[in-house]
């Protein structure tokens, strides 16, 4: 779908919406033609749904041997979704690769020559990355939920259905967290521009840092910082036992704040630096 914009518009600049449409079309072609963008999400989805089901199966098998106290702690949603701790990496890393692949190949220079409105390029990338992440998250989360609860119910362990209070909220919140992680990865990739640095940053921020921070005793400083790490905000989405934040609404806003701050930094850096 090539619009003859540049040719027909002449010196007058094309209408903003047509330019935005063209930028979206360009970014879409680049996104879908990346080899890693087809296989990696597919393999990732299979791996993480498998991890979720394996976890649920092992927990369901142990249900009959639990004592009363352990049974009281058995939460079918938590057991189903603790794979998100790892699954979130798929989104962060893929988001980062969307940006850094273009720097690695040098294509970014052509892109910015063709569309000097760099903010528009970034916005188009972000919109498409968010849509793809959203679709992938919906597939992973809902498949993991229905298969996982099915395994629990066939093992006669406690299970929930979509209509039970709070369940749909957990699912949608987790989808939101995964989408946000994709955008955090994308903007980090634009900021650091190297695949190695961006991937390392994602593993550090989303996986290792929260584990380390959890081992520090929880004093006042801890309570005002650590719960606001993106992975801990994301935990609020799927984990039924609220950790340290007053409400899940704060976690939703906190994740949005991470995305927006990184978006602003990425836009500033993309406009200010030579590609």
């Amino acid at each position: 779908m090539s619009h003859p914009i540049a040719a027909s518009a002449g010196p007058a600049s094309p209408a903003a919406y047509r330019r935005a449409g063209a930028a979206l079309a360009t970014e879409w072609i680049k996104l879908r033609s990346l080899r890693s963008m087809l296989l990696t999400p597919l393999l990732g989805a299979v791996a993480f749904i498998g991890l979720a089901d394996g976890t649920v199966r092992n927990n369901a098998a142990g249900w009959a041997h639990l004592d009363a106290a352990q049974r009281a702690q058995f939460d079918p949603v938590d057991i189903n979704f603790n794979f998100v701790t790892l699954g979130i990496l798929l989104f962060g890393v893929l988001g980062a690769l969307v940006a850094t692949n273009e720097y690695g190949s040098g294509l970014i220079r052509t892109t910015l020559a063709a569309t000097p409105q760099r903010g528009l390029v970034l916005a188009a990338k972000a919109v498409l990355a968010a849509l793809v992440a959203l679709a992938l998250a919906i597939v992973i989360i809902f498949t993991a939920f229905f298969t996982g609860q099915g395994i629990l119910s066939s093992a006669h362990a406690p299970h929930v259905s979509l209509g039970d209070p709070g369940v749909l909220g957990h699912l949608l919140g987790t989808v939101y967290y995964m989408t946000a992680a994709g955008l955090i990865g994308l903007f980090t990739g634009v900021l650091v521009r190297s695949a190695a640095a961006a991937i390392t940053a994602m593993f550090g921020l989303l996986l290792v840092l929260p584990v380390l921070a959890d081992r520090i005793p929880q004093d006042a400083v801890w309570r005002h910082t650590v719960p606001y790490l993106p992975s801990n905000l994301g935990d609020e989405m799927w984990h039924s036992h609220a950790r340290s934040l007053p409400s899940p609404g704060i976690a939703v806003l906190g994740l949005a704040a991470w995305v927006l701050v990184l978006a602003a930094a990425a836009a500033f850096s993309l406009r200010g630096r030579d590609a």
């Binding site: 701790t85 790892l86 890393v93 640095a197 593993f203 550090g204 290792v208």
Partner: protein
């Protein structure tokens, strides 16, 4: 070099190869960047972890006895290992993606020697930096901990644990380097290395069961990390030297595969 054609002595070629590997290593920007990131994480981490645990004096006698003052302040290594490992990976994959590797192999067709010198130069730099950082983190951490339980460098087992921190990071970097040779693409190699070090341990914990916990014992990170434990503790029980030995075995296996493949494959 005054060597005639075909008569270059092995030691002078190795020296020249080591020098060219050193030039490549130090002239890439990612080297200093990764080492500065490692330094910040290990040292600032020691300060934060020491300060956070300072009030452990109030804890019960049992948890006092189990408190490991060395591992507590060196834990930043768990985050820093990502940067050292990534440096190992891009030392190789960076050369593949820029195409320089073809020039290297034209200049030195003895590919095994190139890889050996590359690993040697990397290991020497990584070991020197990481051991220095491990000591810095130890001394800073103990001074911050000091009202609570803390140890001196002369106490039994402490010196080897601190040296173990530097050795652990060096092995992780070498594992990254050899995985880089095997995979040759930066994102895939990083995913493989970080998967082994950071993802699989958590995946196995989620899976539960005895097989999963036995496997967890022998993952490179879980096993090797015991090198900088002063007291046995935590979920894994191999102990310091067997643990480091398991990590070394992973490095050796990756090295054997890398030396085999680098000679067989087209660059």
């Amino acid at each position: 070099m005054s060597a005639q054609a075909g008569a270059i002595r092995l030691d002078s070629r190795l020296r020249a190869t080591a020098r060219s590997e050193w030039i490549k290593f130090r002239s890439v920007r990612s080297g200093p960047f990764a080492l500065v990131a490692t330094a910040l994480i290990v040292v600032v981490g020691a300060w934060l972890l020491g300060a956070g645990n300072r009030n452990s004096a109030a804890a019960s006698p049992a948890s006092q006895a189990a408190f490991d003052p060395v591992f507590t302040v060196l834990q930043g290594i768990e985050l820093a290992q990502l940067f050292v490992g990534a440096l190992g990976v891009i030392t190789v994959t960076g050369e593949y993606s820029s195409g320089l590797i073809r020039g290297t192999f034209v200049a030195t067709p003895q590919r095994a020697q190139v890889l050996a010198m590359k690993a040697l130069v990397f290991a020497a730099v990584a070991w020197a930096c990481c051991t220095a950082l491990s000591f810095a983190a130890f001394f800073l951490g103990q001074s911050v901990l000091s009202p609570a339980k803390h140890v001196g460098i002369g106490d039994p087992g402490v010196l080897t644990a601190v040296l173990g921190g530097g050795l652990y990071l060096t092995f992780v970097g070498l594992l990254g380097l050899f995985i880089g040779v095997l995979v040759r693409r930066t994102p895939a190699a990083l995913a493989a290395l970080f998967g082994l070090l950071a993802v699989l341990p958590i995946a196995l914990i989620l899976f539960k069961g005895t097989i999963a916990s036995q496997l967890g014992e022998y993952l490179p990170g879980n096993a090797g990390e015991q090198a900088f434990h002063l007291l046995p503790g935590g979920a894994y029980t191999l102990g310091r030297w067997p643990g480091l030995g398991v990590l070394a075995a992973y490095v050796a296996a990756a090295a054997v595969a890398a030396f085999t493949l680098i000679r067989r494959r087209d660059a």
